[in-house]
């Protein structure tokens, strides 16, 4: 199930559907998070206003990103932070590897960060001979299992308690147990030593405040606090879109993000990091390096329609709400960002050639848009991408399997829908031929045809064309009166 690519989304999805443990775990977790989110949102009377305000702030940021970034950087630099700019993942990894090498680092602790998943930082660090330990419990489980996260805030959402217990027995040598407290304390004990020994801590960033140069990171386990304060060096990796103008804006985002993600009123820990430690008695690292990652973001920014995908605060609510994600989980998407927002972002980050299935991996039900705390119109973006695929993509994508046929079908459809006589004629022809497959007033499984009919009837009966269409009934009705 792991390490598959977006290119084989259909196959990945089928494999996921056949995995009953995965589906059980997903069903429990997504419905639990969904219910908690709803309760938390309903607990605030001004939820809709907050969403509107958050989106307005994000829109403003995206419109004046250069300016806000400049403010953010100059404020943070004034307090001792150092900045590095990375055009893509490879550049970001190279910068981090260089910083680590310059400090003779052998061991690094890392807190959960989707941005570093995006750059595949761990692979790069390990290739450079540096040991990296994930310190978020979910990420730690994933690292032990040599997998990738399947959810942007609950990395091990696809695993059952029993699977985790077995993994711990196998990898950490503890006696078999399904006591969650015992499993957690085992992880904690192992990780404490790592924190103490680590040369560098690497974290992500939830928000960067332009006004003060503060980095804000939210979490529940306390591992981020340790990652960013125990080691002497802290490297934060931040997507360039993560900046917010004012400290006061956090009031809105800190209400929205935890409620949307886990249904919490607030996460257990919020770390506000403003520069490096200024005197010996302060907490915090001696050096703070912030790696600013573009990796396709400025390209997204330039486009008026897709720009809004950069408003995402990575809360994961759209994943939990998505009927497709609920059935197949995150790995099937074959990309770092799964679910509805993943289906929007991945093709923009990686190009359509290898990701062209993703925009179609949605019933366009709109549940994602309904829960999104920053009101991203994900269905609209998926439709936009579908349009790009059929009309503006490379010949390779335009002529991909099934698309030539589909395009032809829609050309025929157009002709038919523009001319009532053609429309009526095709319906008559359909009535004539459907006798071949209609039995007992329905069309059961049809194996002899390929394509849509076989796909539909694989699990559903099909309603045949009525013997008399509405327009025919209307016409004879009019004739009578």
């Amino acid at each position: 199930m792991n390490h598959v690519t977006s290119e084989t989304f259909d196959e990945n999805a089928k494999a996921a559907l056949a995995d009953s443990q995965l589906r059980g775990a997903l069903r429990n977790a997504t419905s639990l998070f969904g219910k908690r989110r709803l309760a938390a949102a309903q607990g605030l009377t001004n939820w809709e206003d907050l969403r509107t305000q958050a989106r307005a702030i994000k829109d403003d940021v995206l419109l004046h990103l250069d300016q806000y970034l400049e403010n953010f950087v100059s404020q943070a630099e004034a307090r001792g932070a150092k900045f590095h700019w990375a055009r893509d993942g490879a550049e970001a990894n190279a910068i981090i590897c260089r910083l680590a090498a310059e400090r003779n680092a052998r061991s690094i602790v890392k807190s959960k960060s989707m941005t570093t998943e995006e750059t595949h930082l761990n692979v790069a660090l390990e290739a450079a001979g540096i040991q990296v330990i994930e310190t978020d419990l979910g990420e730690y489980i994933i690292q032990l299992a040599e997998e990738t996260p399947s959810h942007i805030i609950v990395p091990a959402i696809h695993k059952t308690k029993r699977q985790i217990a077995e993994l711990f027995t196998q990898e950490l040598g503890i006696p078999p147990t399904d006591d969650v407290a015992k499993l957690t304390s085992t992880a904690r004990a192992t990780l404490r030593d790592r924190f103490a020994a680590a040369d560098i801590g690497i974290s992500g960033v939830n928000f960067g405040v332009a006004e003060t140069g503060t980095i804000v990171i939210l979490e529940n386990e306390g591992n981020i606090r340790l990652t960013t304060s125990l080691p002497r060096f802290h490297i934060a990796v931040m997507g360039i879109e993560k900046v917010v103008p004012r400290f006061a804006d956090l009031d809105i985002f800190l209400k929205l993000l935890p409620r949307s993600g886990t249904g919490q009123r607030l996460t257990t820990y919020q770390s506000f990091i403003t520069g490096t430690k200024q005197n010996a008695f302060d907490d915090g690292p001696e050096e703070l390096h912030v790696v600013m990652l573009d990796n396709g973001r400025s390209r997204m920014l330039a486009h008026p329609v897709t720009r809004q995908s950069l408003a995402c605060i990575r809360c994961g609510a759209c994943l939990n709400a998505c009927p497709v994600y609920q059935q197949i989980g995150g790995h099937a998407y074959g990309s770092v960002y799964p679910g509805p927002i993943g289906a929007v972002i991945t093709p923009q980050l990686m190009g359509l050639e290898k990701t062209q299935q993703l925009p179609y991996a949605s019933s366009l039900c709109g549940a994602c848009r309904e829960v999104c705390p920053v009101k991203i119109d994900i269905p609209r973006l998926l439709l936009h991408l579908r349009g790009e695929i059929t009309e503006k993509s490379s010949p390779e994508v335009q002529q991909a399997k099934g698309r030539t046929m589909e395009r032809f079908a829609f050309k025929m459809w157009r002709l038919m829908m523009l001319r009532p006589w053609a429309y009526n004629l095709s319906a008559r022809v359909g009535r004539l031929f459907q006798g071949l497959v209609v039995k007992d007033g329905k069309i059961g499984r049809v194996k002899s045809f390929v394509g849509p009919l076989a796909a539909w009837t694989s699990g559903r009966d099909l309603r045949p064309l009525d013997q008399k269409s509405f327009r025919d009934k209307w016409a004879s009705d009019q004739g009578k009166s």
Binding site: S363, E391, W413, M417
Partner: protein, 247 residues
């Protein structure tokens, strides 16, 4: 009030009783109904699959035809086709002239249940049906047109019927247009959650406002040999058989 019926191509060809029922209900509440037989499709299949230029042509034709009507409103027994018409302005963002025409048509087009409740303010349309029933929120009606209380109010006012709320009534049935045949396995997996909830509800019929969702749900129920029947809200509202339709 004079109403021009946009019956939708699906209803026209596959589920004509939804069309005749719509006419019946609209007449019963005092509307004069007209039907322009040049109409075909709202363009949704092409639009949702990414064939915007094909969709644009078909949308233009829809606009031209329905611009001619003198009716007070265009009414359709489909949340999703009505939502498509409301999306027309997106197709013509670069054509100011068509944009204006698209907006005008979008404003005049209503889904049946919302037309009855919001425009005509009729909560009881004199329907009767004997049995236990529930409502499935079709996604586009729910999320694009904000139809939630309207259909429920109408259902609760059907004489002789017992209304029960469906678990996760607002979750998708897995249809999604071409999604249902591009990814039939995922579509069915989503559908089965809906089917489980329907069977748990112990109803005689599940009602919805979109023939497409009902084909999806009904197709699976029929494959399973279930006794639960699917009904379009227009069919239910047209019904005046107190003793009919019982299991």
């Amino acid at each position: 009030m004079r109403v021009s019926l946009f019956v939708t191509c699906l209803v026209d060809q596959l589920w004509s009783s939804v069309g005749t029922s719509s006419v019946e209900v609209l007449r019963r509440v005092g509307c004069e109904v007209e039907f322009d037989d040049r109409q075909t499709c709202c363009a949704q299949p092409a639009f949702n699959t990414g064939y915007r230029s094909e969709a644009r042509d078909v949308a233009r034709r829809f606009i031209e035809i329905f611009e001619e009507t003198k009716a007070d409103a265009i009414v359709s027994p489909s949340g999703s086709c009505t939502a498509m018409v409301r999306h027309y302005p997106e197709l013509f963002a670069d054509e100011p002239d068509w944009l204006k025409r698209a907006q005008a048509i979008a404003e005049r087009t209503h889904e049946l249940s919302s037309f009855l409740i919001r425009v005509l303010k009729r909560e009881d349309v004199g329907a009767s049906w004997n049995g236990r029933l529930t409502w499935h929120d079709a996604c586009h009606g729910l999320r694009d047109l904000n139809l939630k209380s309207e259909p429920r109010t109408l259902l609760k006012n059907v004489h002789g019927a017992e209304y029960v709320e469906l678990d996760n009534a607002d979750s998708c049935c897995g249809f999604g247009g071409t999604f249902s045949v591009k990814y039939p396995e995922i579509s069915l997996a989503i559908l089965d959650q809906k089917i489980e909830a329907i069977e748990r509800a112990g109803v005689n019929a599940v009602v919805a406002g979109d023939a497409s969702c009902l084909m999806q749900i009904g197709g699976r129920l029929s494959r399973h040999g279930s006794k639960v029947k699917v009904m379009h809200i227009a069919e239910l509202l047209a019904s005046q058989e107190m003793s009919g339709n019982v299991r």
